[in-house]
């Protein structure tokens, strides 16, 4: 399919950043915000390895993951130019597109609480012009013209994700250009310094999400035990509703524009995030009514919705890059829910679920990298938090459940936190 788009020539790009200044002039981006970036491959010039630059902004993908996944329908496609345009007035600042886009194109502006991104200089395109960056590249590395759209590009910096980007990248063979040189002059053999990569998704910055998904798993799990409704004290019933409200509140906290939160429901058709929020709302409503009324039929319906909700929670993360090798994560919300329910019920199923969790946890860490002492202690705590109730229930030695529940919850929270250290976005920096 021949279309218009960016053409990038690795053999001409010297990383001069003129494209970024051209974008700044045209779109009045406010530093440190920049819609285009120049990614350096081998930035510390490790010898016997080539180095390469990639200037990249939005590729206005035919199958734009930002647009599909945005819960608030803030993205639209210009059918004439193909530009994927973001409307900041519709954006709720959930940053989900920053995870969904494998090119790190949508940029969150903390001052404004919304996303900004390259708009292909759509106004210029409509007037018959070309994007400012491509019009200003002083070496001719970045141009705009006829391209062949392919589902994905197997080129440096491009992810293994099929989005059909509107860009062709050529002459990447320069990546393998290595001069004959004196390795001793670089000291490379005697040192093992490597470039530090900063994860795009960082657990410490995602606390509201961690709390929300942790509580979601716990609440759905707890709700399972409500089938013995008459045994649930009114204190716990009120606590349940309170925690639901707290989870909902936590989910709002990570929005740049909490007042626009309702927009998160607009894209149930294609966004798992929308579905997640909608199902959470439905679960909260149904389970609360059940807790207040005890209508049995409602229980099963609420449980179905709760299960769907947790499935949607898991599906939200399908856009991320998984840095663990187990088929599911030990902090998987569905697994956590059933494990938690069986613990409260002091049921033998707990042994099975806990064993799965333990195995998943251990095998993940078997591949793990070096951990510091603090991390190790947390891991140990998390491990014991599963092992102790596991042993207790296995040998039928549990008489008072509360300490085990508290221990279990602490462990699960640690694991949920770890989950966010085990995922990352697909992005050009990791791929170059």
């Amino acid at each position: 399919m021949s279309e218009k788009g960016f053409i990038f020539d690795y053999s001409r790009c010297v990383g001069c950043h003129a494209c970024i200044v051209a974008c700044y002039n045209q779109n009045h981006t406010e530093p440190p915000m920049a819609w285009r970036m120049v990614v350096n491959g081998n930035p510390i010039k490790i010898p016997l390895k080539g180095f390469i630059n990639l200037s990249i902004a939005c590729n206005h993908c035919v199958d734009a993951p930002c647009m599909v996944n945005c819960p608030a329908i803030a993205y639209s496609k210009d059918e004439i130019t193909g530009a994927i345009v973001h409307d900041h007035l519709k954006c709720i600042g959930c940053k989900y597109c920053t995870w969904a886009c494998p090119y790190e194109t949508p940029k969150f502006n903390p001052a404004k609480g919304v996303i900004e991104k390259c708009n292909f200089c759509n106004d210029l395109l409509k007037e018959g012009g070309i994007p400012a960056c491509a019009g200003a590249c002083p070496t001719g590395a970045l141009t705009y013209g006829d391209i062949e759209i392919e589902p994905k590009l197997s080129k440096p910096g491009f992810p293994d994700v099929e989005t059909s980007p509107r860009i062709n990248a050529i002459n990447d063979t320069v990546e393998r250009a290595i001069p004959e040189m004196d390795i001793d002059a670089t000291g490379y053999q005697q040192s093992n310094y490597t470039e530090h990569y900063t994860h795009r998704i960082r657990a410490s910055k995602e606390m509201p999400l961690i709390v929300f998904t942790f509580l979601s798993a716990v609440l759905v799990g707890w709700f399972i035990t409500f089938y013995r409704f008459e045994k649930i004290s009114s204190f716990y019933r009120i606590a349940f509703i309170f925690l639901l409200a707290f989870a909902g509140f936590a989910s709002l906290l990570h929005l740049g524009k909490p007042l626009r939160a309702y927009r998160a429901l607009l894209h149930v058709k294609s966004s798992w995030l929308s579905r997640e929020i909608a199902l959470f709302g439905a679960f909260a409503l149904l389970s609360s009514i059940f807790v207040l009324t005890g209508t049995v039929a409602l229980f099963w319906f609420a449980l179905l919705v709760g299960t769907s909700f947790l499935i949607s929670v898991e599906m939200v993360y399908h856009v991320t890059r998984k840095n663990y090798r187990t088929p599911i994560h030990s902090a998987n919300t569905l697994l956590t829910a059933v494990t938690f329910a069986s613990l409260i019920l002091i049921s033998k199923e707990f042994v099975l679920f806990a064993l799965i969790k333990l195995l998943l946890y251990l095998s993940r860490h078997a591949y793990g990298q070096k951990v510091d002492f603090k991390r190790f202690l947390l891991s140990l705590l998390r491990f014991l938090a599963l092992l102790l109730p596991f042993v207790g229930i296995l040998f039928g030695a549990i008489y008072v459940i509360t300490p085990f529940v508290i221990l279990f919850l602490i462990g699960e929270f640690i694991d949920r936190y770890e989950y966010y250290t085990n995922i990352d976005t697909h992005n050009p920096i990791q791929n170059i």
Binding site: V14, I20, N25, I44, G187
Partner: protein
């Protein structure tokens, strides 16, 4: 929106043609002008940043006076009255030479001459500076060898089969050279890079040599030795056009690859490989940079390297040239570089006194009879860019009165008693040449000056009137006020070459008399009319060996030095010397200042990436963030020059004011430092 053709007047090889878009007296866009064959795709990040620079809220728009509570806006009358009063005072008490007129390379143009005329003819002579911070050693070395500084047009580089970037990193310092360079490589040319850094331009190189700084001449002499020994030389060319070859051949015999290897740290096999390429791949364009001639052995280093182009006959042919500086577009200058850098010799009735740019601080302090009392600075930022900032600052503070004409609050402006707002490139027309591309260009006035900005030509006129001269007195010396007078003046200069402003408004014009392939007539303006490998003048003018030699650079090779690391302070793509980094967009892209060092050197000192370190020697010190990279050769550290003190890494507090062996250049790269950990960041 209106569009005008203009050109970038910075001290930069590329000298890009630009299209500037103007709306409501405001610069709103910068676009490429494909008519310029050297810069067809437009300006670099700095050229594009003029949109911000022209409209920056940080711009100095009014005269200001320093008070106890900072700078205060004053009127032009007040400013000029004060300055005139001081000028008269100093002249009457101490004589005109107590005033130092300092101008640097901040903005090119023919109108700059009027500044000198004011000081010479109106004020009656002031102390000035001779020499230049940038490139004189190489210019003088080239002039003494080839007779002139010129090279093939930039796009001829495409015809080269071998390109040697010797100490030049055009990807940062001459971005547009990368266009023909890439074209040549696409056509099968080989690229060799010689630089202590594995720089960006070496991306597609076949061979990379990383010598210790200042040792290039040793490599060149050893290569010459191999070339001659293996007969990889052009005997016909040598026969017809070269003076002193036999002496040279005899002279280089002891300079073996092993000898050069021990000095430079480059393995012998790579030196031999370099010789093989130079001897066997033709045509070769050899592109030396300016950094490696900023050493006390800079002129001889350049002569030694140039000898390689000479003995292989790579001069005066398509694809073959010595690509140092191309002054062919400087058609309006009476005296070309580097001769204009010489101290004034013949008094013309007006008392002249000149001090060295390279040793500015030291010379300012040492000057007697009369002592310096006042400085006037324009187009320059000596407190950032001149060697030994500590001394320069001391000298500035010792003065009674300082006037700085500036666009922004630079380190130098901060030291001023009076700041006068300087024009920018869009506020007055002028004509500029380039030392790389062969065009004469018009830098057009496209907006009215912002605030109360006045161009220097008007400042001097008003100041002269304050000194008691009438407009009629001045009409023969200074430029009368008004844009039409500027145009009239420029037109008269152009008419000498049958050109007009209207021609230049349509685009750049190739310099009259341009030789696209420099020296293709094989006429060399040396005393012998030949290329002088052996140059008597090197000895008579500079007291140096008439043959190119390697002399260890001062300070760099003392065995017992407590400062073991070579400090390199190259230019960065983000700035032209100390300009541009104050802009928001450039500051974002350049990040904070860092000291680049090899992981080996860092580990030895317990330094990790991102740590704060102190870089110091006996001249000065400052604290900066360390960045570990294999790009830098073991034993070297790099801090690009041009950071202001207020931006955090004033590299010249570490450098010494010294002159180069030739040309009155500045040897501020003779510089060693030590680095120590201040604080771990993690």
């Amino acid at each position: 929106m209106k569009e005008f053709i203009t050109a970038c007047p910075r001290n930069c090889y590329s000298t890009c043609s630009l299209v500037v878009q103007v709306e409501n007296n405001k610069v709103v866009g910068i676009k490429p002008l494909p008519l310029n064959k050297a810069t067809p795709f437009g300006g670099c990040l700095k050229g594009l940043s003029y949109v911000e620079r022209a409209n920056s809220p940080d711009r100095i728009l009014y005269p200001q006076r320093k008070t106890n509570s900072g700078f205060k806006r004053i009127t032009w009358d007040e400013a000029l009255d004060t300055i005139a009063e001081r000028l008269i005072h100093f002249r009457d008490i101490y004589g005109q030479q107590s005033v130092l007129f300092y101008a640097a390379s901040g903005m090119a143009g023919l109108l700059n001459d009027f500044s000198g005329k004011f000081w010479r003819h109106v004020y009656g002579g002031a102390t000035t500076v001779y020499g230049n911070l940038c490139w004189p050693a190489g210019l003088e070395a080239t002039r003494l060898t080839l007779g002139e500084n010129k090279h093939n047009v930039p796009w001829d580089l495409e015809n080269a089969k071998l390109i040697v970037l010797w100490g030049k990193n055009p990807a940062e310092s001459n971005l547009h050279e990368m266009i023909p360079l890439h074209n040549a490589l696409d056509k099968g040319a080989e690229l060799i890079v010689i630089d202590p850094r594995r720089n960006q331009s070496s991306q597609r190189a076949s061979l990379l040599l990383q010598p210790f700084p200042s040792t290039d001449a040793a490599i060149a002499l050893a290569v010459a030795n191999i070339l001659i020994e293996k007969s990889w030389i052009d005997n016909d060319f040598i026969e017809s056009h070269v003076l002193g070859f036999n002496r040279f051949a005899e002279h280089v015999k002891p300079f073996t690859p092993r000898w050069a290897s021990e000095i430079s740290g480059v393995p012998t096999n790579l030196i031999e490989k370099l010789a093989w390429y130079i001897g066997n791949v033709k045509p070769m364009t050899l592109i030396p940079g300016y950094g490696m001639q900023r050493y006390t052995n800079g002129g001889q280093t350049v002569r030694a390297i140039l000898a390689l182009s000479v003995i292989t006959g790579n001069i005066g042919k398509p694809g073959a040239c010595w690509h140092y500086a191309n002054l062919q577009s400087y058609v309006f200058d009476d005296v070309l570089e580097p001769l204009c850098y010489y101290p004034p010799e013949k008094p013309d009735g007006i008392i002249r006194r000149s001090i060295s740019t390279a040793r500015l601080g030291e010379d300012m302090l040492a000057t007697q009879n009369p002592e310096l009392k006042m400085i006037w600075v324009e187009r320059g930022n000596p407190l950032t860019q001149n060697p030994n900032t500590g001394k320069v600052l001391q000298a500035f503070r010792k003065l009674d009165f300082r006037v700085v004409v500036e666009q922004f609050m630079t380190d130098t402006a901060l030291e001023a008693d009076i700041i006068l707002p300087a024009k920018n490139m869009f506020e007055q027309s002028d004509i500029i040449g380039s030392y790389w591309n062969p065009y004469i260009q018009l830098k057009q006035k496209v907006v009215e000056p912002a605030g109360e900005v006045k161009p220097e030509t008007e400042i001097y006129l008003l100041l002269a009137q304050k000194l008691g001269f009438t407009e009629a007195d001045l009409s023969q010396v200074l430029l009368p006020p008004g844009d039409d007078q500027v145009d009239k003046f420029l037109e008269s200069r152009l008419n000498e070459f049958n050109l007009s402003l209207d021609d230049l408004k349509k685009g750049p014009i190739l310099a009259p008399g341009l030789q696209e392939i420099a020296f293709s007539d094989f006429r060399f303006a040396t005393p012998s009319g030949k290329i002088e490998l052996y140059s008597e003048q090197v000895q008579s003018i500079w007291g140096e060996n008439p043959l190119p030699v390697y002399k260890p650079a001062e300070e760099l090779f003392h065995n017992q030095t407590p400062y073991p690391l070579f400090l390199m302070s190259p230019n960065t793509k983000n700035r032209i010397h100390s300009q541009f980094n104050n802009l928001k967009i450039i500051s974002m892209l350049s990040g904070g200042p860092v000291l680049q060092m090899n992981p080996i050197d860092a580990t030895k000192r317990g330094i990790a990436n991102g740590d704060m370190v102190e870089v110091f020697n006996h001249r000065g010190s400052f604290t900066v963030k360390a960045q570990l990279t294999y790009e830098v050769r073991v034993g070297c550290v790099v801090i690009p020059n041009g950071w202001w003190r207020t931006q955090g890494a004033p590299v010249n507090v570490l450098s010494e004011g010294r002159e180069t062996d030739m040309g009155h250049g500045s040897a501020f790269h003779n510089n060693r430092v030590e680095v120590k950990l201040v604080k771990h960041t993690k």
